[in-house]
Assembly symmetry: C2
Homo-oligomer: 516 residues x 2
């Protein structure tokens, strides 16, 4: 058995099932090993940002890492932005980055670059093995890091000569995996005291606390103590819909966030950190809580969020009770022009139980988020790191992780063009991904941000950097070019019809919703 096979075999033994890759020459032995090692599904992305974003979406839904297969420094660089989002989303991933043969490195061949320097900002762990046995051992370490209670991103560099060599000895013995640290009861009691104090108080959750079980516990704590339950603006995966708790989302707009949060004097934060502004703006605050608010952090990354919330619940005497999963009345939008509101209403009415939403709708998505609060139970995946180009890949990964559950990708036009290649992977793998492409022919959020930072664009010259007209992109033709079923909807009737059909017919769909 050569080392490539041994690495893939080890991944399979550890439970890794999917590998999103775009290999090159230095990864060819790993490619060939997919034939000889069963159980690991190779999935081609036409660009590495698709691979890393898909692996992120996969991990959010599967609760375990996928592997990626990337071609030296430039391949890793191409995947950087979605690794950044994955890091901010506390996701799990094992990146296999092929490299030149160790003896070839000294020649500084054209594709050589400083892989460590690129990997560092987006890796919790970097492995650069010295032998085949070490490579297999480091594969285990990579997996262990990815399976930490609050996620981890591992980057394993695989030099070509190690990959193609035969295994000589046995890799180091497997170790038991370290679990989460037991909760710190002193911190838990401090949090419980804050939550039961007479002062205005809030419980803020984020990260892995958006999953069904910890969310339910958080809601029970809030219910019992009278604390206001908030969640981060962008939670990696939030259990939503009928029967689920409805935390208030920290607003993206700082002015609104400050208004909503200024009265609180006690804050308990689990799974995330105290909220900060996405950007700084002249004469606007960088943080949202009042300076008089006491912040308590019973959680930090080495603890399991569910353990921490359960301990707080125990302290305050809160019990999770099943809430009736009654759905609100929904109505399909009336005939007429498509708007953010009508897209939201249609979604709320039609989305089936178990749907997954990959939300990169930016300005167009706020309404849909609100409208679907009482829709059938679903999971909502957000852009966690602000690096656009995550929506399409994340939908691909979620669909691979959850066959049988439709994935609805609410997708803005500007960010769609960052990783449009992902539509092809959805087509090739015949994934039930419905891309609702909200075409407003502009980076609408930036026109808003331009004003918010106090800048003014007076002419076509500067506005040209923020608009997507001239020419308007034809996303319907684009979807078809990449193998998806694609429909353009200029009115609500066409949109609703297309969405119904897309939900009923598994496979890749693009619905271009014209918003101008």
């Amino acid at each position: 058995m050569n080392v490539s096979e041994a690495i893939l075999h080890e991944l399979v033994e550890l439970g890794v099932e999917a590998c999103f890759g775009n290999p090159g020459t230095s990864e060819m032995h790993l490619v060939a090993s997919f034939d000889r090692v069963g159980g690991l599904r190779p999935i081609l992305g036409l660009f590495e940002g698709v691979c890393t974003g898909a692996a992120d979406g996969y991990a959010r839904m599967a609760g375990k890492p996928a592997a990626t297969l990337l071609h030296l420094g430039p391949g890793l660089g191409n995947g950087f932005a979605n690794l950044h989002n994955a890091r901010r989303g506390q996701s799990r991933m094992i990146n296999l980055v092929g490299d030149h043969a160790t003896y070839h490195r000294k020649y500084d061949a054209p594709l050589q670059s400083d892989i460590h320097s690129i990997a560092k900002p987006v890796s919790d762990w970097i492995g650069d093995p010295a032998s085949g046995e070490d490579a297999v051992g480091k594969t285990r370490e990579a997996f262990a890091v990815a399976m930490r209670p609050n996620g981890g991103l591992s980057t394993l560099i695989v030099p070509a000569d190690i990959a193609w060599s035969e295994m000589k000895g046995a890799p180091p013995a497997r170790k038991g995996r370290a679990g989460a640290k037991p909760v710190d009861m002193a911190l838990v009691r401090e949090a419980a005291a804050a939550l039961t104090s007479g002062e205005p108080k809030l419980l803020l959750i984020g990260g892995h606390a958006g999953l069904e079980k910890p969310l339910a516990i958080a809601a029970a704590i809030a219910e019992k103590t009278g604390a206001k339950l908030f969640c981060d603006t962008f939670v990696p995966r939030l259990a939503r819909g009928a029967g689920r708790a409805k935390p208030d989302r920290v607003p993206y707009l700082g002015e609104m966030a400050v208004m909503m949060m200024s009265a609180f004097r006690q804050a308990v934060v689990v799974g995330t950190k105290a909220p900060v502004a996405f950007f700084a703006y002249p004469n606007k605050p960088s943080t949202f809580l009042s300076p008089e608010c006491q912040v308590h952090t019973p959680w930090s990354v080495e603890y399991d969020v569910t353990d921490v919330l359960a301990a707080i619940a125990e302290e305050v005497g809160a019990k999770v009770v099943a809430t009736p999963a009654a759905r609100s009345e929904t109505t399909l939008p009336a005939a007429g022009k498509i708007s953010v509101e009508s897209v939201g209403s249609a979604l709320a009415a039609l989305m089936p139980e178990g749907a997954i939403v990959s939300d990169e709708a930016i300005t167009s998505g706020l309404w849909a988020y609100m409208a679907t609060q009482n829709a059938a139970a679903h999971d909502w995946l957000s852009l966690t790191g602000g690096a656009i180009g995550d929506g399409i890949p994340m939908a691909v990964g979620a669909a691979v992780a959850c066959p049988g559950r439709p994935v609805i990708n609410l997708q803005a036009d500007g960010s769609a063009m960052y990783t449009i290649q992902g539509l092809w992977t959805a087509a090739r793998e015949n994934l039930h991904v419905i891309t609702i492409l909200l075409n407003n022919k502009s980076y609408a959020v930036l026109n808003m941000e331009l004003d918010r930072v106090g800048a003014t664009a007076q002419s076509e010259r500067s506005r040209s950097l923020l608009s997507l007209d001239k020419p308007v992109i034809d996303f319907t033709a684009m979807g078809r070019a990449l193998g998806a079923n694609a429909v353009r909807a200029e009115d609500n009737e066409t949109f609703v019809k297309a969405l119904k059909r897309a939900l009923a017919e598994p496979g890749p769909h693009v619905i271009e919703a014209m918003m101008f």
Copy 2:
């Protein structure tokens, strides 16, 4: 005047004319400044890899840097692969990377990351200014680095609060630019001695020595001394066609390169370094020259290639004489299926004088390169760093630098999908870029490389990572979706007709040549 305006104003004063950007909130004051500072053309790319690749193509043709405008670490990360290619091509560039306000950095907001770590592998210089005056001073430093004799990549980080603040004082006084170091006559004489020795000898050029003037001097030296003239496999910009020298290209395939180069005992290398294999392969050599060959390097990056070659020419008594620009007979391909040969013949026959070729045709491009040796005089731009996704952006940048000269982008399908977004910029700017999309529905080079590394792919499973069928991408529909005139050619007659029309009608064209 605020600092954003002062930075742009300084760039204009220095002679920078184009800025390829995709800004976000942290760059909004720079965006607004385009209105108030004339002379710097803002050009939107739908993905940062388009911006950095276009800036590279621009610099290769303009001989001076363009600016890019990128959004924090993830924006720079998205531009990484083409920055890597630019670095390998000794290109020139000034990257303006917006960052959070300095006082906001401590909050670790979602888009924060280690910009320095990402920039380091692809930057010759990184500036992180402490004030507005310092930012303007550092803009000058960035330009000076980019204008070094053999190129330079500068990364200037611009924190939002510095960008929006008013200029308080004057920036440091401008300094005269340091020129190239005078040639080292001892090294020049050593090279001249090697070239006039009785041993088998070669002169290898690359980098900036591919331009018309240094190439002509190199050819005169070879003619005078009987040395064999070689050029790198991938020269950033090579003056070619009738009337120009025809150096032998170092073959990509190491076996062929070793065969061609093993007999030489003296080698003089200018503008590049002694040739090395692109990748290592089991039991194949990493370098091409014989161990018995003495390598002389009269050039290193601080010297100007033309100065060095002129000094060698002087020593050996070589004189540049104009060679008659006689074109060989060319014939249009006969009716029938499109092949790499027929594409080459059509190009050789139809390409007008002054055309620019952006070559990312990978396996399909070798024939076209050979076929056009005696075509009308033209410039040939190659993928210098091996990071695919440079062809379309480079064509965009070259067209911006050279209005009036048609740019022919010979483009493989797999690499096209890396930065397909660049077609839109060509359409928006109405550039005369003709993308010849060679659709063979596979990463053909990787099927070859798989065998070359001694791996075998036995099943559909591993081959699936190397093929682009299921579904076949419709590049004609894609081109139209992004605003180009697009034609699908299944035979030579259609191809020739489409190419004639595209050459005659300035503006963006896609010709999808079906190669299967």
